[in-house]
Symmetry: C2
Subunit: 98 residues, 2 copies
């Protein structure tokens, strides 16, 4: 189990992600909302994120809305953010070419 | 656009669904949380619900968590619950044999 990240490390790793990611006020999760033209496009995106989740063995919450998908990472077993969350978020950014 | 349902109609239609569905306190949405053995099973379930959504042209919010999928129906364009929500929820119940 990786260590919980300190605030300065969270800041450093966040700066390496697409700026659309935000850190929750309690510093326990990061999230990004992706917008699409259709519901199905958002759902197909969610499937791609799930593929990444399986490869990383690290699974985000996915909120599929009308033409959007919000991706939320947290290392629940550690009680907050670890490098696993940022590694996976970077892989999701790569999906959309960020 | 179908009419918003009155409280008594919401009660009547809710009684036809699996009892795991709940009506939100403001009577504007219904939701049910489905639990699975794995993340991927929940994701495959979400895909099935999306298939129903396309067939009904009525799209729920889907919240895919670690081994769960919460399905939330509301007719946003009407500002609350209509028969579309209950028709789709019944179809989702049929997915799991309820």
């Amino acid at each position: 189990m990786p260590d919980l990240l300190a605030a300065d490390e969270i800041s450093r790793l966040s700066a390496q992600l697409d700026p659309a990611w935000s850190v929750s006020p309690d510093h326990k999760s990061i999230e990004r909302c992706f917008r699409f033209g259709t519901y199905l496009e958002g759902l197909v995106f969610a499937n791609n994120v799930a593929w990444i989740a399986e490869r990383h063995d690290h699974h985000p919450d996915l909120l599929v809305g009308y033409a959007s998908c919000r991706v939320v990472y947290s290392t629940h077993s550690a009680g907050g953010l670890t490098r696993l969350d940022f590694d996976a978020a970077r892989a999701v950014d790569q999906l959309v070419g960020a």
